[in-house]
């Protein structure tokens, strides 16, 4: 196991006050350590030196909870494809490297402290329509809803999203389209989600817009940064679902039918 000597440029910020980069030396970092373990070591040293440790979000440290963030050398979750910051290991760096460590930057993700950001916008998008309206106890027998393997696999591809926000952080426009398209796409693909498809699509996109995310310009930085490698084709599907839902809303298709029923 080798030890690395690193120079860090870490973003420090308290609440809404202006932030700055702090230069921190990080000598003798084991290359088997994860990036967050490197930050633990740095913090341990800062605390012992009487300085304020760097605040960052993290929890499961196995790449699934989506809590860790950090933009490392300009890349959300760092340079390794399909990997969260917590699963990025220091063997990907060389001794002497300068590493820039910044928060996920987006107007819709205000900084809480240092590298911690507020991603509650994602929760509000889910609240707008990211569900199937089924009450507990009101579900039919599971195998009464056949779902072809291809459909189930596609839905699972979208469902793999861990809601970390790397798509927003890496997008040149801080757009949340990959996240929203994955969340809406999972349910819009499955028969269980079909009844509310149009309503869900319109509501989630409108909430996404209201949160102040940017717009997709089809550059696909999001897909490259996504730790679960969610495909940008989900964005194409969301565009299509949105177009269809908008046209239906425009001509009042759903409403006419319901009025005819009354």
């Amino acid at each position: 196991m080798a030890l690395l000597n690193l120079h860090l440029k870490v973003w420090r910020q308290t609440g809404t006050q202006p932030g700055h980069f702090q230069d921190i030396e990080a000598p003798e970092i084991p290359d088997h350590a994860s990036f967050l373990e490197m930050m633990d070591i740095v913090n341990e040293r800062l605390i012992r030196a009487g300085q304020d440790p760097v605040a960052f979000d993290h929890d499961c440290r196995e790449g699934i909870c989506g809590m860790c963030s950090m933009t490392i050398n300009g890349m959300a979750h760092g340079p390794e494809r399909g990997t969260t910051t917590c699963q990025l290991h220091m063997r990907k760096f060389r001794t002497g490297d300068t590493i820039w460590v910044e928060p996920f930057r987006a107007r819709a993700f205000p900084v809480v402290k240092d590298l911690m950001v507020d991603r509650s916008a994602f929760d509000r998008i889910m609240k707008a329509g990211g569900y199937v309206s089924v009450r507990t106890g009101a579900a039919p027998e599971a195998n009464e809803i056949p779902v072809g393997k291809e459909i189930a696999d596609a839905a699972m591809d979208a469902a793999a999203c861990i809601g970390c926000g790397a798509c927003v952080a890496s997008c040149k426009n801080a757009s949340a389209m990959l996240y929203v398209s994955a969340k809406a796409g999972q349910l819009n693909t499955l028969p269980q989600g079909h009844a509310e498809k149009d309503r869900r699509t319109l509501a989630m996109v409108r909430q996404m817009d209201a949160e102040g995310f940017g717009n997709c310009t089809n550059q696909y930085e999001c897909e490259a940064a996504c730790p679960k490698e969610i495909s940008v084709r989900w964005i194409a599907k969301l565009n299509r679902d949105y177009a269809v839902a908008s046209v239906k809303e425009l001509v009042g298709a759903g409403r006419q039918q319901s009025q005819a029923g009354e």
Binding site: S34, D52, A55, M67, M116, D123, A142, N143, V147, K149
Partner: protein, 638 residues
């Protein structure tokens, strides 16, 4: 104190339906008047909050993460059991019940387990309706696999991330109810204390982790869905934030803590690589379906690359010791067998604490693509962490703490001895006995949240006048002051050692003395050392910053302070239980071949500890366990 488990009368298979019949109802108009606090937003918490809100109760839900979707249930990989018998392989509610009681080494309550097996089928229906993308057959039906020691295929799964998919299902239901106004969600908010007013649990004290504000919240009942205490070992597969604070504070307020010594060690984790390590990573147990576990027969072969050790010099120790279950032997048994091999000097990898999990035979038989399809994400994860490819060389694995079966004592209604305090999921003790079977944790969390508590909570609420106690009650004032006092105390020690250094010291001690193998001398030593470490903590801990801003070190300090107290109870229980059962292995109590020796005559009971005010003198209460349906037998997996 008498612990009344309130098990309904009647035949086992009818208890739950009878209990539902007999449970109290609250009419829809009145439900709106009752408020319920749910702490935690994992499978149990999110499912409970959503379901109770659907019923019309006013729910306040709290989680310390930045979103309810991040609770640690999300990390479960393998699957969820349900007695659907879609495979026509002879599964049934009774068989799932039987397997779970036996798997728990006869230390669980039969009636609770039977209920769990009954509602397991409803859980799958519910999750499918929510849009959980379970694996499917080409015909559109649900796929199953056999998992963790089961001889039938009853496990439903969603790639290697069943936990995430089930949690996202519960989170979507929760989101729906938040949107409807039925649930008020508080994220980045940690529970610091429980408020008991005139003998009834009526609220909690929380700290906002962004602003530092300490607040009181009142309700008509409180549900703790706060998970397990595996992080007492410092290194575990739990998330960094998992903690015992909620249940420990409830214990200090009068709730009995049951069976703390029942901790589960998961056999397939990535071995420790150095002392900077912050957590251990679990590799799904499903890997054991195709991987073969072995170590070299000769200690001198351990340094060689696996490929240079001939077949004849390999010891496939699980297959050798447990011919009928082989590599699929239950978790506690597999873990201990790995430990024995390493204790014998035949462990592999740095530090010699590892065994091989070898896929070469499966790759030869099915081809690399099939293995990639089954376990690709796990192999990728393994490579990211270790820098080694498991397609080319065997994985190295070692057991790690994974789940805790012990928890707050609850009755059949999931209510603790503390009136008005309900405990769900991993935080309670009720369903897994001394050992949990694979794919049963998700089942229990969702069973408690979706199907049990919505029925049973009314039995308590009808005894209460809604909104009778508010935060104006003196009990809230007292609890608020205590919580603030503790924060100030932590900040004012201004010592020299970091919180992590204490946590690491405590964890290593507990792992060493109260981990996979336990004995009297070791436990007594741990019980000597823990109060010393705790005393040093309060004299020498260094918590930087202040309490009025986001301060992760302060959060950790509060959690570690509680682990310091809890660890003592854990070791005391392990010392008191003079038998080996499930995840609790006392080295003094084993058969000559190393198998666990249970003592049903003297220890067939639940140990429930009451806080006496003196950490070294908890009061032990015993709830006897009786077995009507499943006969007490030696748990043999040979």
């Amino acid at each position: 104190m008498k612990l009344d488990s309130k098990i309904p009368s009647g035949p086992m298979a009818e208890k739950w339906s009878r209990h539902k019949q007999d449970s109290k109802l609250i009419n829809p108009k009145n439900k709106r008047k009752y408020s319920i606090i749910v702490v935690g937003s994992g499978l149990a918490g999110a499912a409970a909050a959503a379901s109770l809100s659907e019923l019309g109760y006013k729910v306040k839900c709290f989680c310390f993460q930045d979103s309810p979707r991040r609770a640690h249930s999300i990390a479960a990989q393998g699957g969820i059991n349900a007695a659907k018998n879609y495979q026509n392989d002879g599964d049934s509610v009774h068989r799932l019940f039987y397997d779970t009681v036996k798997g728990g080494d006869f230390r669980a309550r039969e009636a609770n387990v039977h209920r769990l097996a009954e509602v397991s089928v409803n859980i799958i229906d519910q999750c499918v309706a929510q849009g959980v993308p379970f694996a499917r057959e080409y015909g559109g039906g649900l796929a199953n696999r056999s998992f963790g020691g089961a001889q039938v295929s009853r496990t439903f799964y969603a790639r290697g991330q069943t936990g995430q998919q089930l949690l996202l299902g519960a989170y979507s239901a929760l989101s729906k109810e938040i949107a409807r106004g039925g649930v008020e969600m508080h994220t980045r908010t940690e529970m610091l204390d429980l408020v008991v007013a005139d003998g009834e649990t009526k609220g909690i004290i929380t700290r906002n982790l962004v602003t530092g504000k300490v607040e009181a919240h009142a309700a008509d009942t409180v549900l703790l869905c706060t998970g397990g205490y595996g992080n007492v070992f410092f290194l575990s597969t739990n998330a960094m934030g998992c903690n015992v604070t909620a249940t420990w504070r409830a214990h200090r307020r009068g709730a009995t803590f049951a069976n703390p010594c029942y901790t589960q060690i998961h056999p397939t984790c990535i071995p420790v690589s150095g002392d900077y390590q912050s957590k251990l990573t679990l590799m799904s147990e499903s890997l054991r379906n195709d991987g073969r576990v072995w170590v070299p027969k000769k200690a001198e072969d351990c340094g060689k690359p696996a490929s240079q050790i001939p077949e004849a010099d390999r010891d496939y120790f699980l297959e050798r010791k447990y011919p009928s279950f082989g590599n699929l032997a239950p978790r506690d048994i597999s873990s201990r067998a790995a430990k024995e091999a390493c204790d014998d000097g035949r462990g592999v990898g740095p530090g010699g604490r590892g065994v091989y999990l070898d896929f070469s035979e499966a790759i030869n038989e099915f081809g690399e693509n099939v293995i990639k399809e089954r376990y690709g994400n796990l192999f990728d994860m393994y490579e990211r962490i270790t820098g080694e490819s498991a397609y080319k060389q065997p994985m190295r694995i070692y057991p790690a703490v994974h789940y805790t079966m012990g928890g707050l004592w609850v009755d059949y209604n999931l209510m603790s001895n503390l009136s008005g305090l309900h405990v769900l999921g991993e935080a309670n003790f009720s369903d897994h006995g001394a050992n949990r079977l694979g794919a049963s944790a998700l089942m229990q969390g969702l069973a408690d949240g979706y199907f049990v508590i919505p029925t049973t909570v009314a039995n308590y609420l009808v005894t209460q006048k809604p909104g009778a106690v508010t935060t104006a009650h003196p009990a809230f004032k007292e609890a608020l002051e205590a919580a603030n006092g503790r924060i100030n105390q932590l900040l004012n020690v201004k010592g020299k050692r970091t919180v992590d250094s204490f946590h690491r010291e405590l964890g290593l001690l507990v792992w060493d003395k109260c981990g996979m193998g336990r004995n009297r001398a070791g436990l007594e030593e741990a019980l000597r050392r823990i109060p010393e470490i705790r005393a040093e903590f309060w004299e020498n801990v260094l918590v930087p910053g202040s309490g009025s801003v986001a301060n992760p070190e302060l959060e950790k300090a509060g959690r570690v302070a509680d682990f310091m107290e809890f660890a003592e109870l854990l070791c005391r229980d392990a010392l008191d239980r003079e038998e080996s059962c499930g995840g609790h292995f006392r080295e003094e109590h084993q058969f000559p071949d190393g198998e666990a020796k249970r003592d049903d005559e003297n220890f067939c009971y639940v140990s429930a500890y009451e806080y006496s005010g003196d950490l070294s003198k908890p009061i032990l209460h015993k709830e006897p366990l009786t077995f009507e349906e499943v006969h007490l037998t030696l748990r043999s997996y040979k």
